[in-house]
């Protein structure tokens, strides 16, 4: 009795994907019937400097976002993995950003990080530190998006890590401590290696999401200022729904799909090999 779900996945998942691939070989403005274009869109893509820049920005974003989120999630989970009074309130506080809508997050952060009236700059100025343009400056807009999205994702990572930490048998830690291992040493040398499968999952999951960054850009900077936050999916959106180059946008989507598939396979292979070599549980 899997037929209904298979049909649903087919209609809402696979057909659009297949259609996008079909579209990527056409010149199509979504208004008039498309014309067959062969590999034109892909050839154009290779020579498009704006696309190259958007790839570069996506890479910069991913390289910053993924490790920072992983490390902060792990530290947050470790801090939350203890029995103290009111721990559920702390856990809730860490998790709230995950369930906050992106639009609300965007509005809050544009106010917090407003160059003139934002609380962050006014605190920096009071402390005698330099202030920033944040979303309003081409030099800092992408980093502001990193800050905002890390804030939004740490709760998710921490939740996954916390669940895994609680699944680690306490006798392992106790045994290590009897052998003279410190609490901190046990965390880094026993618990963190045991978390490897979870770290692998988060690495893949966060990377996929980072490469597909869109909502946060759409609700804050709209790709600006001066294209400083035009990442690949935002550029795709512009091409498809502002300029109506649907075939070209589909080609971008196909390239992104292939890149994500390859990166995911490589990451899974690397983390699996490592965990086998390291003798995971």
């Amino acid at each position: 009795m899997v037929t209904p779900s298979v049909v649903l996945i087919g209609v809402f998942g696979l057909l659009p994907v297949a259609w996008a691939v079909w579209l990527s070989f056409q010149h199509n403005d979504l208004l008039t019937p498309g014309q067959w274009a062969g590999f034109d869109n892909y050839r154009q893509l290779v020579h498009d400097p704006v696309f190259r820049d958007s790839v570069r920005r996506t890479v910069v974003y991913t390289v910053l976002f993924v490790p920072i989120t992983l490390v902060l999630s792990l530290l947050a989970a470790a801090a939350l993995n203890r029995r103290v009074r009111g721990i559920s309130i702390y856990r809730l506080a860490v998790f709230v950003p995950v369930v906050t809508s992106t639009v609300a997050t965007g509005v809050i952060f544009t106010w917090l990080l407003d160059p003139d009236y934002g609380i962050v700059n006014s605190l920096l100025a009071k402390a005698g530190l330099p202030t920033f343009g944040f979303f309003s400056s081409p030099d800092s807009a992408l980093y502001s998006i990193v800050i905002m999205t890390v804030w939004g994702w740490v709760g998710f990572g921490a939740l996954i890590y916390l669940a895994a930490l609680q699944g680690i048998p306490q006798d392992l830690i106790e045994a290590a401590q009897m052998d003279g291992c410190s609490r901190r040493g046990a965390f880094w040398r026993i618990e963190v290696p045991l978390l490897r499968p979870v770290s692998a999952f988060l690495l893949v999951w966060l990377t996929i999401n980072a490469l597909q960054l869109f909502d946060e850009v759409y609700v804050t900077t709209k790709g600006g200022p001066l294209h400083a936050t035009t990442v690949v999916v935002y550029y795709l959106y512009q091409q498809a729904f502002q300029y109506f180059h649907a075939g070209y946008a589909a080609a971008i989507a196909v390239v992104l799909f292939v890149v994500i598939a390859v990166i995911t396979l490589v990451q899974l292979r690397l983390t699996r090999d490592a965990s086998e070599a390291g003798g995971a549980p």
Binding site: T221, K222, P225, H227
Partner: protein, 440 residues
């Protein structure tokens, strides 16, 4: 979910997944074939029913629903159903999705900037001959609305909203700073000097605000200045850029002088904070349209006047919206045309204007006795209505406009952020526009 389930699922056998996908694809194709062939032919037995999609909320939505109810009472054989499209900002995307799915409205509310793109849609109803009917009184619509509805000599829609940019200022801030309030014959130099005097870095107070997100919001204020200085965006047949001129330079230089030299301009990054800051007395002047007036707090005493001018030229810009008609059947498009012309007739639209504060669409509306009720309710609108006479140019109605706009937006943005000189920005934008026009 157990944390270990994640990687496990992702590692599922690729063969099994491929087989599942193949089965799903075949099934899905079958489902689509069974569901296809739906249609919008809703006329039977002499009675017709049409769908009008719009993005209005609050007061406007209520006024439109009231109008539709009145129509349905008077015309039981041409029933109108209103359909909310989720917001006018995405009306174009929604309509396009409807065409792809084969399920589109008979009438859609669209921004004028979408007209050229939708004009290519084969289902669009060409209104060129229909509006010649004397009962429509086409030339009674304000010029900017009529021109926004024209694409390649074809009438592609009926004006649904007409607006323009005027100068809105906070009277108290001018009085406090000892600056004489703006007059209708202000020059660019007067404007710049006043903005500078009203700016105070210590309290983060600015003379003017500019929406600097690089969108059409950034572009159209620049276009008003370009036209005032005697420039044009594109050449007469819309095949080449024309803004890389002395006029284009003068307009950019004015923005540079105010934004970068004087630092008297608050650069809004597109989230609309400028209006909150105007309400908090942090920004003294705005170039904005009637739609913002209802968001100005009642404790702010504001004035409205024409935009400052260049050599006595006080042109402004209008961004009209349209009702566009799409063809399901002749009966339905006739009913749709009857409804839209009724809705935008002087007698009917003045009711909508009184309810919402929208400007009149037609010259004859301003001669109706109800127009005095409108002015009494919205005294500030008087200047906006008078300022319609200062709309002398329209944006080019071409499918590549979105790309042209994007190039101009980036140009203005880079100058206001102090990242390029007006000359460099002009020549770069000019070459981008050239390639956008060539690549259609």
């Amino acid at each position: 979910m157990s944390p270990h389930a994640g990687p496990g699922r992702l590692c599922a056998s690729p063969w099994r997944r491929a087989a599942t996908l193949a089965v799903a694809g075949v099934l899905a194709a079958g489902v689509l074939a069974a569901c296809g062939g739906g249609g919008g032919n809703n006329s039977s037995g002499g009675s017709t029913s049409i769908v009008v999609s719009h993005g209005y909320t609050d007061v406007e939505a209520k006024a439109l629903q009231d109008a539709a109810n009145t129509w349905n009472q008077q015309n039981p054989d041409k029933k109108v159903t209103l359909q909310f499209n989720g917001g006018n900002d995405s009306a174009l995307q929604k309509t396009l999705a409807g065409f792809t799915a084969g399920n589109f409205p008979d009438v859609a509310y669209e921004y004028g900037s979408s007209a050229a793109q939708l004009a290519r849609q084969p289902k669009l109803v060409d209104l060129t001959d229909k509006v010649k009917d004397p009962s429509v009184d086409w030339n009674d619509f304000f010029l900017s609305g009529r021109e926004a509805a024209m694409v390649d000599g074809k009438v592609v829609g009926v004006p649904a909203l007409i607006d323009n940019l005027s100068l809105v200022y906070n009277k108290k801030m001018f009085a406090d700073a000892g600056v004489a309030p703006p007059t209708p014959d202000w020059t660019w130099a007067d404007f710049r000097a006043a903005a500078k005097k009203l700016t105070d870095p210590s309290t983060r107070t600015y003379g003017w605000a500019y929406v600097n997100d690089g969108s059409e919001d950034t572009v159209w204020r620049y276009l008003a200045m370009l036209w005032q200085a005697g420039g044009e965006l594109l050449n007469a047949d819309n095949t080449a850029p024309a803004f890389d001129s002395a006029a284009g330079k003068a307009a950019l230089q004015q923005l540079y002088d105010m934004g970068v030299v004087d630092k008297s301009v608050y650069l809004d990054n597109g989230n609309g904070n400028y209006l909150n800051l105007f309400n908090s007395g942090k920004i003294a002047m705005l170039w904005t349209g009637p739609w913002d007036l209802s968001s100005i707090n009642s404790d702010i005493s504001y004035g409205v006047t024409y935009l400052p001018g260049y050599n006595g030229n006080h042109q402004t810009i209008s961004g009209p919206d349209l009702y566009m008609l799409f063809d399901h059947s002749t009966a339905q498009s006739n009913a749709a045309f009857d409804f839209v012309t009724w809705l935008t007739s002087a007698k009917e639209h003045i009711k909508f204007a009184i309810a919402t504060g929208d400007l009149p669409l037609r010259t004859s509306e301003t001669k109706l006795p109800e127009y005095q009720t409108f002015l009494k309710k919205f005294p500030a609108e008087k200047v906006f209505v008078a300022n319609l006479n200062n709309v002398k140019h329209v944006r080019p109605n071409i499918p590549q406009y979105a790309e042209v706009s994007s190039a101009i937006g980036t140009m203005v943005q880079s100058v206001l952020l102090g990242k390029s000189s007006p000359d460099d920005a002009l020549s770069q934008a000019s070459s981008q526009v050239t390639s956008a026009l060539a690549g259609s």
